[in-house]
């Protein structure tokens, strides 16, 4: 059963005013439990509007969002529960930190859920470990931490609600390569432990290629495609046409194909490219 599903989801801003704009246009989507999804699309493609529907921050103009098969807007008073089941981490989440200590800030979400102290403590400790925050940091003021650490505190704050679906909007924006790798590794580890569904919005195809089982592409308010990673990068020409990048390594293999050197496989990571080339080279030598 899909964990998250949309049916004809449409969202229009400022209905009836001269600024009326349809940001999400009839999107039908089924995301299965446990998937690790990369979300890509231009600024203004509708991807941010789309993800804000998944936890009920925005209400569809028409169409439905189903969580575990149930329309999230069926009972308007229960919408807060949806937000606990679908955790959303915004861009630059460190700017939402407000508590005196790291512990308290991570505990904010679980507290709002009405959990008891022991359960809150368990969750804070566990997520802090998942995201790589050492225990001695928990009593410190989050405002004293480094940029990358603050970002991890903010992500932990949403993870600690133990949402069935975790959505992160550009979790690595503005970080340097080391900070980026660290955060992605911790998210991957969290995924391995919890088996929860994760959606990560990213502009970096290299990053997406490194973690995603499936890729969701938005273009001009419409769903361009939602498919397995290798299939999406197999359409690298179309992807480039709508102005999105494909990994540099994919472009090299596209170039080789153009020169009549077709390896017959979709290449989107360096490791895979190396193995593929070495295998083919040794086969040639064997002949």
């Amino acid at each position: 059963m899909p964990i998250l599903e949309t049916q004809g989801l449409t969202y229009t801003y400022s209905v009836g005013s001269p600024f009326e704009k349809t940001a999400v246009d009839h999107v039908d989507l089924r995301i299965d439990e446990g998937e690790m999804v990369g979300v890509m699309g231009h600024t203004g493609s509708g991807k941010s509007t789309l993800i804000q529907h998944f936890n009920g921050l925005l209400k569809p103009t028409s169409g439905k969002v189903l969580l575990e098969g149930k329309d999230i807007w069926e009972d308007k008073d229960k919408i807060r529960d949806v937000r606990f089941k679908v955790g959303l981490v915004f861009q630059y989440p460190e700017y939402q930190i407000f508590e005196e200590t790291v512990y308290k800030d991570i505990a904010f979400g679980p507290k709002n859920m009405g959990l008891d102290e022991a359960e809150i403590k368990r969750r804070v400790m566990e997520t802090a470990e998942d995201i790589g925050l050492k225990e001695e940091l928990l009593d410190r003021s989050p405002f004293e931490l480094s940029g990358g650490q603050k970002r991890r505190v903010a992500i932990a704050g949403v993870m600690a609600m133990e949402p069935k679906v975790l959505i992160l909007d550009e979790p690595t924006a503005g970080l340097d390569p080391a900070g980026r790798d660290k955060i992605l590794d911790h998210i991957k580890a969290y995924h391995r432990r919890t088996k929860n569904t994760i959606l990560i919005v990213s502009h970096s195809m290299e990053d997406i290629a490194g973690f995603a089982d499936k890729i969701l592409v938005m273009n001009k308010a419409k769903l361009f495609c939602y498919d397995e990673t290798k299939k999406v990068f197999g359409r690298s020409e179309e992807i480039s046409q709508i102005g999105l990048d494909v990994p540099q390594i994919t472009r090299v293999f596209d170039r080789l194909k153009g020169r009549g050197l077709d390896f017959g496989k979709e290449v989107y990571t360096v490791g895979y490219a190396r193995d593929l080339l070495l295998k083919q080279l040794s086969e040639r030598e064997g002949q």
Binding site: S14, Q52, N55, L57, R80, R83, F84, G87, L88, V89, F90, P93, Y95, Q96, I97, F98, F108, G109, N112, M113, F143, G157, V158, M161
Partner: protein, 268 residues
């Protein structure tokens, strides 16, 4: 949502009123307010009404917008009218019910007050509707510039005003984002009891303050890098040059003002 609020309520346009020099517009508005308050006869207000209607027509902004500007002050208008209506006891009695009594003078005065206030609001709305906040700030700075000699920080105040104007949209957007982020963590902001709501305001205000200070700090550095050194010896890209139309408009305003004063002296 927050971003739907239009701060300053400026309606860009190319009308004659839009194109007038903002300094002249401010002076004319002040004259207009004076006119409304010095004239004590209802005919003065008639003159004022003609002036206002003429200016509104010239601005090409729909009358609806001006009526909207009066709306928030409606309760205040009603109270003012009621006080005058029931508390002024002189003149012929028009209506009596138990201890309530309405007299002719009372009716006149409350009508007079209502028209005066409505004209006042409409007239000053015309200024903000047709002049961008930044042009207003600029004009105020220039009008007040003689005060610099008295060491009044005219430039500094104007700079603060214009930076505030610059950052209003940025901060509104940011507030929107923080609210969404906290809602995503289950904060009850537009639901829940007053106490939870108040508590949750902290989760919005703290990040907003922190980020405003960071912005202020970065902006200060950026300004220094671009050689900002106070108002001394500054030149301006925005040139304010009075055109013949500004003097004509001012002359017309003065004529109306004189007419209103004459009417009120003659009819006293």
């Amino acid at each position: 949502m927050l971003r739907d609020i239009t701060i300053g309520q400026f309606f860009p346009g190319e009308s004659l009123i839009h194109r007038l020099d903002p300094r002249f517009k401010i002076v004319m508005t002040l004259l207009y307010i004076l006119m409304l308050f010095t004239g004590s006869h209802i005919l003065c207000l008639a003159v004022g009404t003609v002036y206002t209607v003429m200016a509104i027509a010239l601005s090409k902004i729909p009358l609806k917008m001006f009526l909207k500007s009066v709306k928030p002050l409606l309760p205040f208008l009603v109270i003012t009218a009621a006080i005058n209506l029931f508390l002024v006891n002189t003149g012929d009695v028009l209506f009596r019910w138990r201890f309530l009594k309405i007299t002719e003078d009372g009716l006149n005065i409350s009508l007079f007050m209502i028209i005066r206030i409505v004209l006042l609001i409409m007239g000053s709305s015309l200024l903000t509707y047709t002049t961008s906040p930044i042009a207003l700030t600029d004009a105020i700075e220039r009008l007040l510039s003689p005060l610099k000699k008295l060491h009044f920080p005219v430039h500094e105040l104007a700079m603060m005003m214009s930076i505030a104007l610059r950052f209003i949209p940025t901060l509104i957007e940011e507030t929107d984002k923080i609210i969404s982020a906290q809602k995503a963590r289950g904060a009850e902001i537009d639901t829940g009891s007053m106490i939870t709501r108040a508590k949750n305001m902290v989760s919005i205000l703290v990040p907003l303050f922190v980020s405003s200070f960071r912005r202020a700090d970065e902006l200060a550095t950026a300004m220094e890098c671009r050689c900002y050194n106070g108002g001394e010896g500054r030149t301006r890209l925005r040139q304010l040059k009075a055109a013949p139309r500004d003097f004509i408009a001012l002359a017309v305003t003065i004529i109306f003002y004189a007419a209103a004063i004459t009417v009120s002296i003659l009819l006293k």
